[in-house]
């Protein structure tokens, strides 16, 4: 009899409905006000995303105080890279004793953002920066180099120009 009544009166369903109804009311009241946030949505293109400091984004070369590229072409990153996305060409530069990378090519198309390259670098000359909007329309945009024909790795990522977040920040 008790189970029959329990079947007839759906208290179990009532519990769930109460919970969902509660959240509906809460979010309805606080839908978009600046302070209170019950909802967990990040309104991304308009509101920039908060990234953790260790975020692994796109690879870039670092420069020292004189604006000189720190890389000395030890090729450690090229060797450790599991997907072989880095190509370095050693060269010489006027007024610099250490080797200078004539070419530092980075194929983002294949990069898996493992940060092994940064870890292997003994001279702290590369980092993975916080750029994460890395989709692109053309395959060439994934080829990133120092200068010349291809995307310059010292500028914003090739895709950041399509992003809305950048406009919102401006």
């Amino acid at each position: 009899m008790a189970s029959f009544l329990r079947t007839l009166i759906p208290l179990d369903i009532y519990g769930g409905m109460k919970l969902t109804g509660k959240y509906f009311g809460k979010v309805l009241r606080e839908a978009n006000r600046a302070r209170i946030r019950t909802h967990v949505v990040c309104e991304y293109p308009e509101v920039p995303v908060k990234l953790q400091p260790r975020f692994r984004g796109r690879l870039t070369l670092l420069k020292d105080e004189q604006g000189e590229i720190k890389c000395i072409c030890c090729l450690a990153c090229e060797k450790i890279c599991p997907t072989q996305v880095i190509t370095i060409e050693k060269g010489k530069k006027e007024g610099r004793k250490l080797p200078y990378p004539v070419r530092y090519d980075f194929e983002m198309e294949r990069c898996i953002f493992c940060e092994f390259c940064v870890e292997s670098c003994g001279f702290d000359s590369i980092i993975l920066n916080h750029q994460f909007e890395l989709a692109a329309y053309n395959r060439e945009d994934f080829s990133i180099g120092m200068e010349g024909r291809f995307q310059n790795m010292f500028e914003l990522s090739p895709v950041a120009r399509y992003s809305v977040a950048e406009e919102a920040q401006r």
Binding site: T7, P10, D12, I13, G15, G16, L19, T20, V40, L51, Q52, P53, R54, F55, R56, I80, P82, I112, F113, C114, E115, F116, E119, L128
Partner: protein, 374 residues
């Protein structure tokens, strides 16, 4: 004898139907070939291999350090656990002693990943059965875990969290607070999942007694993880062959005797609670000290053969390595993927049941195709 009555007998015809590889509830590119009699499943044949990338072959050509990034991409919802298995397997092969602090941090992150993986399982399983709100509630809490991963190692999904010999870096300054906040939110979150599902009559109707797999069959089929424990077998690699800091942790193995989908649901919920307990213990008892053992830049192995298994969220995850003399990379690497072995039970669980139960069975096995196909 009754030939003249033959026209009265309904002639039925079996229908062959393809569930997948593109189907909303096959969780990736699983294809299940079903023979249906009406809506009853007569024969069920899982067909896999659509995501085969040859991870084992690739890892044979990468160094011991590099191989780890491929483990991220096997069970991509439990990347940290996969990393743990790889790192510990290689350390076992090289006899590396990892500092105690590193063990604790590894345990902490692996358990967080177990919670995240189970949350994702619950989310998708509930969505398969039609409850769509649990999905988002689970993801709300899972998000906090992914943030913790991001804070620790910089990536949310493909973490590459550990290094052979310990950790790359110590835990970041704010992580302690993040984890504590998560634990607090999680304790209310799991109550909410239970409110929506545990007592719900429809949920119970869809899961109680569905896709049964008794202990005897489960052991014979090599099933591990929550599916085995829901059949009443208290086998947990964390307890049976403890690695990392599990030997120092106080937790219970969740088991249920019923061996059905509902029991698996309860076991996984209980496991999430136990994992939260382990996380709490790791956090409270985090020892001081270094996080990285002293290891050379290039690892060269001797002739050795090692099988190391850990308890991944889906079951026993084993890494089998063969190292050659002076080898900078594994001579042979094999992964015992829990999903791969567990999926074998699908025909046993579904044949004779209805079409809708196949969906429940796939969901309750918690398969990840990246791991099955490797």
């Amino acid at each position: 004898m009754f030939v003249f009555l033959e026209f009265l007998v309904f002639k039925t015809e079996e229908m062959e139907i393809n569930l997948g590889p593109q189907h909303p509830s096959t969780h990736g590119v699983l294809r299940v070939k079903l023979r249906l009699d009406g809506e009853t499943v007569v024969q069920c044949t899982p067909i896999i291999g659509y995501l085969h990338r040859g991870v084992e072959k690739i890892c044979e050509n990468k160094t011991w350090f590099q191989g780890q990034v491929w483990t991220d991409r096997m069970d991509y919802v439990a990347a940290v656990t996969n990393n743990l298995g790889w790192a510990e397997g290689v350390e076992k092969l090289f006899g590396i002693q990892v500092p105690r602090r590193a063990h604790y941090v590894r345990t902490l992150l692996a358990e967080l990943n177990r919670i995240a993986s189970h949350q994702l399982w619950l989310a998708t399983h509930a969505l398969d059965i039609g409850a769509m709100t649990v999905f988002l509630y689970c993801f709300r809490d899972r998000e906090a875990i992914l943030d913790i991963f991001e804070a620790f190692c910089g990536a949310r999904l493909t973490t590459t969290a550990f290094r052979i010999g310990g950790l790359r870096e110590d835990v970041p300054p704010g992580m302690d607070r993040m984890v504590r906040n998560f634990l607090k939110a999680f304790s209310t979150g799991i109550e909410e999942y239970e409110t929506l599902l545990s007592e719900n009559r429809i949920w119970k109707k869809r899961t109680v007694g569905v896709a049964k797999l008794q202990a005897k069959d489960a052991v014979a089929l090599g099933i591990t993880g929550p599916v085995l424990r829901a059949a009443g077998v208290p086998y947990d690699v964390r307890k049976a062959f403890p690695s990392a800091a599990y030997a120092e942790m106080d937790f219970q193995i969740a088991t249920r005797p019923e061996a059905d989908t509902y029991a698996r649901y309860l076991v996984r919920l209980e496991e999430m609670r136990q994992s939260a307990r382990i996380v709490q213990q790791c956090l409270d008892g985090l020892p001081e000290g270094p996080v990285m053992a002293k290891i050379p830049k290039i690892l060269k192995s001797e002739v050795c053969e090692v099988y190391h298994s850990i308890e991944a969220p889906k079951g026993e995850l084993g890494y089998y390595f063969v190292g050659e003399k002076g080898g900078a990379n594994p001579y042979r690497m094999h992964v015992r993927a829990p999903s791969f072995v567990n999926l074998q039970a699908l025909p046993k669980m579904t044949e004779g049941n209805l079409l809708a139960d196949v969906i429940a069975a796939i969901g309750t096995l918690d398969v990840v195709l990246g791991e099955i196909d490797r």
